[in-house]
Each structure stands twice: as structure tokens, then as C-alpha cells.
Symmetry: C4
Subunit: 274 residues, 4 copies
């Protein structure tokens, strides 16, 4: 694995690894995704006791193969850009490193291999797949729409969290320790389980008063689930409108709001293209 | 069951079996639906141990009756079209065959009869009922609207699946095998149960740290349920708009798709109102 | 309880019992609602074993009091309209009768009193309360909006039911009887519990394959919950639009779509009122 | 803690405690929020048995420290306004007092300290944080939008509650006491757990008939969850529209509220564009 001798060589490598416009770049992306999928599959299968017993050695060998592969990929990523530090400290760079370390750690520390599950984080690269298909418009559209919602959703989540702390604390008083509500953090956990309508049933009210409070919590959860939905629906509609409005304003009358396929201004009738 | 002697006879048969414009065609559709419903009811009832014990023989006879009926129907479907292979390889054709095979297999292999449950797939023909009623507009409208959502929903589902693999893997590390999270696939299953707010409670976190991670998963699920809703709501609104716009066709160039407030044709620039 | 001697007397009684414009009519409605609430409360309390033991006799007496009261009300309803049969066969009339019968039956048959729970059906009269408040606009608006959704929602529910029968049947094959999926109806019940994201956990998959199928069912349920929401949201928006659009079309240019408070046409500028 | 000698001093104190425009006011708000957070954290930790055993004394001391701090804050709030009674009887004032009393009560009554959980109510002050950030627009927008929904949502919740009482009562008849549906209130609790799709599974139907009724309840819950969502989504869209329309004011008459595509003022009929 020699360091590329010329800048030209480095440029080509950069195009293959970081871009996906060229045929080689696309092939690299597809290959990498397959490698990530299969490597995670191996970690998953190895965690199943019965499979580990029978195929443990094979999976172990494969794991080291993938570790070697990903180490080479990591080095190539470093050498193919001018300032490697930018990649090292980027989110994807950190994830790539975290996916490598456990294997090497396992040489010195027994059990470190269980950290291999963090290799699942590399799945985040899956969103690169959209660069290959025709999903880019959809992805960008959703990103645009949800960006506007982030603030409102966080206001909403803060309100929900405040509610769960208050309701959980009250429930801790109403139900007693012996009924599963053994402390306030546990009761807040129960309130989250209930208000999100998950409802495991590992902790559930026993006393009539507790069931009454729980009913109130459930009805609150049932009614306020509508709020984030309303917010996101509205922001998607807004984003769709904006996207449609962007390309055109009539050069004659200056009015906007023409559809993407309009050739003439719908207000004054003059051509939209000069 | 003789092969129809003339093309004319075959044409009439085709109209009855495949179309539903004529009175005979409608009667056939209704009769077939009733037969499918009752045949599935019989399979369902036969699966109940206590009913099987008392009425097993009767149900067995009825099952063979329906098998005979559906075999005749299958043959008629084959002979009434020019190129039967098109029906055989179509989705409904395959389902119809799958619904027949188990009965015949059960002659040679004991237990094959349990495959009769696949007869439930024939229920998909239920959507033919809409051809009979006035639901066609609604069905087409929903189909139109959801067609636009498929891509965005699949981007969403891929994101959710990626999240569940990552969160499930982390949970496998946090909670230990003895707490039910016995391997990563199991943990991913738990993450899906939680993020979709189903919450069986067959696996649920035990340690404080696990409960904290679970709370995060639940709140994520609670917040992102709004995304598909927003997408579909928007696409339904778009589909409704388009449908409404349809009748407005430019009197000059005849092209459609103008917005409700348009004064001039956006394609040719001539006034929409004469 | 004499029959009213004159039509005038009957007319006044009708106004009190059936209408709520007069002060007496409103008082009657409020009184009746309080009576219904408390009578249902008594039936509910009486069903609690510990309360029945201590206050059973008191509650029993009260129940007979309410039965007498509602019997008088029923007779008054009969005598105060010209054609009592119309009330007897109306939905509310049948409910009122069902709420009365159990008490009288309990004289002859032991246990018939448990049918008193049907008195809860009288709660449907609670919607009369909106006639008293200012909720009528909201009620009518929602009714209007949901009327348009009924068809689309029933198409949706039929699709969901078909899905649950098919998925439940497959699950019955995948998981075995010993895992709780003891017959197909039970498996279909499980599919409904899962697809609606209720998730009791009384029946849950045990085998890896079953967990995989269950995950698919959950994700389907998670994705399609958006469909009825989208439908209803759209229909509410449509109903709101229609309500707003109704009053105005410009008398000059005939264009519609003016807001409720518009005085002049926004397209041609001429007055909307001649 | 002497009473402020001059009105000027009182005015400054008022600005710091009640307002957040000045630097000191902001610092006070941030400090108070941190104090509330940590004080609630202490109460939560103290409720965990194992932590109480090891650090009980430390936490007890800290609790008294916070009680002293909040007592000083309470007194300062009283002295810094002209009519302290307005603060005492305000919602936040009552909450602040409730957060203080348990500590003092615990001197005289053993166990009163458990009421300290009500300190969680002070979390409601968290919404003051938005005054510090840029979330005010979002908060106001959501408040505006949800104000219009309150009536419709309460009509919806009343309908749901009526449904749960009726369905719960029927279920009490169908399933028997020995199956967990031990009385009507319990059955109504089950109906709420089911219709909101929480589904703990602490009570679940056992008989086939009960499972059938439960399926109906679940499908009802699945279909009607869309109603509040539709309502809130619509009201958010309406609120957004109103906000957006604000800036467009007619240059002739100055009135606002014109639609985006209006060419002429809908009030005075003069052109909106000069």
C-alpha cells in the first residue's frame, strides 16, 4: 500500500473514494455498501449463541478480513485528500475509526470485541446510496422540510419531557414502591412508555387511583401526538410550495407562483422566458 | 369440462369471468367473493382445535368441495383467454394456483394441508368488489396519491431500519444477555417493537441505563411517526388538487393542469376565458 | 301519571322534553344528563366487589329510583308526541328502552341485573349537551368533514382487515401452536393487535422467523397509520374551504374563492355586493 | 434579608426577578432554571433506594440548602412587587409555595418529605427559557394554532370517553371477572388503554368473543387517531396563513388580510400594486 507518487494519482483516488460521478466512483460506493452490510451481518450472526458455537471460527476469520479491508480503506481515505485531518475529525471519519478500533483492541483486552457492534454506525453511509439512485430530490426535499420543523419539534419534545417528569413524580406518590414504581426515575420512564403509547406493561398501575392518573396520561398522549404531525405536515406543504415557487417570477409583471411547467405568466399572459 | 368449441363461446366466458360490466359478470364476481370468504372461514374454523374435533370431517368434505370448485374456476380462466400463460404467470394467477395445490399435496404428504392457510391470499380479490360498487373513484384517488408517496416512504423506512439496527446494537451492549437482549437480531427486533410504539413487553429494558436508551428510542419513534403522515397528507392534497384541475383545459391549445386562479394559459399564453 | 287532557299541554311537554330552546327545555336537558351520569356511576360502583359488599343495598335502592325516574321519562316521551311509534323505533328510543328493561327483568330472572351495563348506552345523549353550549359549529364542521372520509376510511379498513387475515394466516404457519398462535382466528387477532400498534404482548412471536414476520407487520402498521390521517386531514381542509367559499362569487367576473370578509372582487376589483 | 428601603431598589429587583430584558434578569433566569433542575434531580436521586442508602445524608443537606434558596427567592418575589397577593394567588405563585412547604412540614410530620416530588411542578418555569432564546415565535405560533383546536379536541375527547365507557361496559359483560375485567371502572380503564393504542397487556381479553370486541375497539382507535391530527394540522395551516397574510396591507385603505394572489384590495377595490 504505497503512498501515491503524484498529485494526479491522488486526484484520481479522491474521485473514486469521495465522489460518485465516475463509473469507478459508483462501483466503489456500491462495493463499500455491500462490504458494510455483510460485515454488520457477520457481527449480528456472531452474537447469536448457537451460531457462534458452530461457525465462531469462520466468522472470526471473516471479521479480521473485513477489519483489514476497512483499515486499507481508512488509509486510502487519508492519503487521497490534501488535509487528512479534516476527514479524521469529521463525523464519518470518527465513525470509520470507531468501527476499526475494537478488532485491534481485542488483541490486548479480552471482551473488547463486543464493541464491534459499533460497526453498525457505518450503516449511516447507506444514505450515500441515494446519490446513486434518483432519490436525491426526495432526500433533499425531506431535509428541507424537516429543517423548518426542528425548532418546533424540540419545543414540543421539551413540553412532553416536562410533562413526563411531573406526571411520573405524581404517579410515584399515587402508586407505591411495591407496585413497580420503585423510584421517580422509574416512574418517569413509565410516563414516557405511556405517553408515547408504547406501553410495554413491565410497569403498570395497580391501584384504582393510579389507573385513573394513567388514563389521563394516555389521553394526553393520544391527543398531543397530533401536534408534531401537524407541524411536520405543514412544513412539508410549505417546502413543496417554496420548491415550486423558486424557479419563476414573471419578467413582465413580476408575479410569482407559477407552476414548474408553466411557459407563460398566468396573470399577464407574457412569456416567462425571454 | 369440454373445451369451448367456438371463439364466440370463449368470448362470452371471458366477459363473465374477467369483466364485470355485464349482469352475468357481476353475478360471477359476487359468487366468487362469497366462495372465497366461506372457504377461508372453513380453513380458519378448522384450525381451532375444539371445532376440528367435533366438525373436522364436515369441514374436510367442504374443503374438498371448494377445492373442486376453485379447480374448475382455474381451468375456466385458462380456457377463456387466448394466451393462458399470461394468466398463469400473473400475480393473481399464481395466488389462485397456490390456493389449490395444498389440497392435492395433502393426498401424498401428511401435513401439507396446513398450507391451506395460503388460501387467505385469495382475499386480495376482495378489491374487485370495488368494481361493483361506487368506490372506484376513491380507490383510484388513493392509488394516485400513494404512488407519489412510495419513494419518500421508502426513504423514510430505510432511515428507520438503519436507526433500529444502530439503536438495537447499542442496546445489546447496554443491557446484557440475561435481560432478554440475547443477541443483536433480537435487540433489533426490540428496537422495531419500540420505535413503532407497538411495545409487546416480551423484551423490555431492566437496567437504568437501558431504560434511558429505551426512552430515547421511544421519543424518537413518537416524533418521527409524524414524517410518513406528513408525506402522505401532502401527497393526498396534491392528488386532490390535480384531479380538480383536470377539467380546466385551455380553449386555444387544449392543454390541462392550470391552477385554480390562472387567468391565462401557462403554455400558450392565450386567455383561458373567452 | 294522567294522559295530558289538551293538545296545548302536550305541545308544552314536547317543547320541554324534545327541544332545548326554552329555559324549561334546557333545564330538562341538564337534569336528564345529570341523572344519566349518576345512574351510570351507580352501576359502575356497584360492579366493584368491595363497594357492592358495603353499599350494595343503598345502590340497589338508588338503581330502582333511577329506573322509576327513567320509566316516567319514557312514558312522558311517548305521550308528548303525536306518533309515539316514531320514538319507539328510533335509535335513542331503543336505547332508552334497553336501559329500562334489565331492572324489570331482574324481578323474574336472577342475574338479569348485570345487563344494566347497557344503561351506559344512554351516554350517547351526552352529545345533546352541545346544543346547550356553543359547540354546535364545531360538531357540524367535524360531521361534514368526516362524512366525506367515511368511504375512503372504509376502503382503508377493508385493506387493513384483508392484510391482517393474510398476515395472521402466515404467522400461524410460521409460529406453532405451542407459542400462543393456537389457531388462525387467534393469529388474526394478534395481527390486529400488532398492526394497530396496540401490542398487548399476550401473544408475541417466539421463533426468529416469527419475529422477522412480526417486524414486517409492525413496519407496515407504522407506515399505513398515515393513510387515514392523510385522508381525514385533507377532508377537514376541504370542508373548511367549502364553508368559507360558499357565500361568494363575484357578480361582475363570476370568479370565486373570495374570503369571507371580502367586499370587492380580488380579480376585477368590482364590488361583491350590488 | 432586609426589606428594600426605596421604591427604586424594589424596581431594580423586580426587573431582575420578573423580567428578562436586562443582563442581570437573564442571569437570574438561567441561574434559577439550573437551581430548579438540580433540586429536582436531587429529589429524583433520593427516591432511588440504593442511592438513598449511601448518599442520603448528603442529599438531605442539599435539599435543605435548596429549600433555603427557594425560600429567599419566594420572599424576594413578594417584596419586589407592589401587590404581593397577585403573585401568591397566581398559578406559578401557588406552585412555588407547594415546592417549599413539604420540607418545612417534614420537621413536624414524618413522611411529609415524600411530597417533595411536587417540586417537579416548578419545571413549568422551563418555558421561561424560550424568552431567552429565539423560540418565542415558535411558541406563540403553536399557542395560536392550538387555541383554535381546543374546542374541537375537547369534542373529540368527550366522544372518545363516551365510547370507552360504552365499550368497557360491554366488555365487562363479555369477559368475566376471572379474566381481569373485575369491574366496570377496570373495564373502562382497559378500553382507554386499548383505544389509545398503549396496550399494556395487564388486562387483555381471553375469550374468543372478547377478542373480537377488542379487535373492534383497536380498529376504532386506529381509525379515529386521525381525527385530532387532522384538526390540529388544519389549524396550524390556518394560523400560518394568517401570519403570512399580515404584511400585505392595501396602500389605499391600509387594511390587511389579502390572499397571496389578490390583485385588488378586497375592502376598497383599489389596486394593491401601484
Amino acid at each position: 500500500m504505497a503512498i501515491p507518487p503524484s498529485n494526479d494519482w491522488r486526484f484520481r483516488l479522491h474521485e473514486i473514494i469521495y465522489e460518485s460521478n465516475t463509473r469507478a466512483g459508483k462501483a466503489f460506493d456500491v462495493g463499500l455498501l455491500i462490504a458494510i452490510f455483510t460485515s454488520i451481518l457477520i457481527v449480528m450472526l456472531d452474537s447469536v449463541a448457537s451460531i457462534h458455537q458452530h461457525y465462531g471460527k469462520l466468522l472470526h476469520t471473516l471479521e479480521w478480513g473485513y477489519t483489514a479491508l476497512f483499515t486499507i480503506e481508512y488509509i486510502l481515505r487519508l492519503v487521497s485528500i490534501k488535509r487528512p485531518i479534516l476527514y479524521v475529525v469529521s463525523l464519518l471519519g470518527i465513525i470509520d475509526l470507531i468501527a476499526l478500533i475494537p478488532s485491534y483492541l481485542s488483541i490486548f483486552f479480552i471482551g473488547a470485541q463486543s464493541l464491534l457492534v459499533f460497526r453498525a454506525l457505518r450503516l449511516l453511509r447507506v444514505f450515500r446510496i441515494f446519490k446513486l439512485g434518483h432519490f436525491l430530490t426526495e432526500i433533499n426535499f425531506l431535509k428541507e422540510a424537516l429543517k423548518g420543523s426542528v425548532r418546533k419539534i424540540s419545543v414540543f419534545l421539551l413540553t412532553v419531557l416536562t410533562l413526563t417528569v411531573i406526571l411520573g413524580s405524581i404517579m410515584y406518590l399515587v402508586e407505591k414502591r411495591e407496585n413497580g414504581f420503585s423510584n421517580i426515575p422509574e416512574s418517569v420512564y413509565w410516563a414516557i412508555v405511556t405517553i408515547t403509547t408504547v406501553g410495554y406493561g413491565d410497569i403498570s398501575p395497580v391501584t384504582p387511583m393510579g389507573k385513573f392518573v394513567a388514563s389521563v396520561v394516555m389521553l394526553i398522549g393520544y391527543a398531543i401526538i397530533a401536534v408534531p404531525t401537524g407541524i411536520i405536515t405543514h412544513d412539508i406543504a410549505m417546502a413543496a410550495r417554496q420548491r415550486k415557487d423558486l424557479p419563476e417570477a414573471c419578467p413582465s409583471c413580476g408575479r410569482e407562483g407559477h407552476e414548474a411547467d408553466a411557459l407563460f405568466c398566468k396573470y399577464c399572459g407574457s412569456s416567462l422566458f425571454r
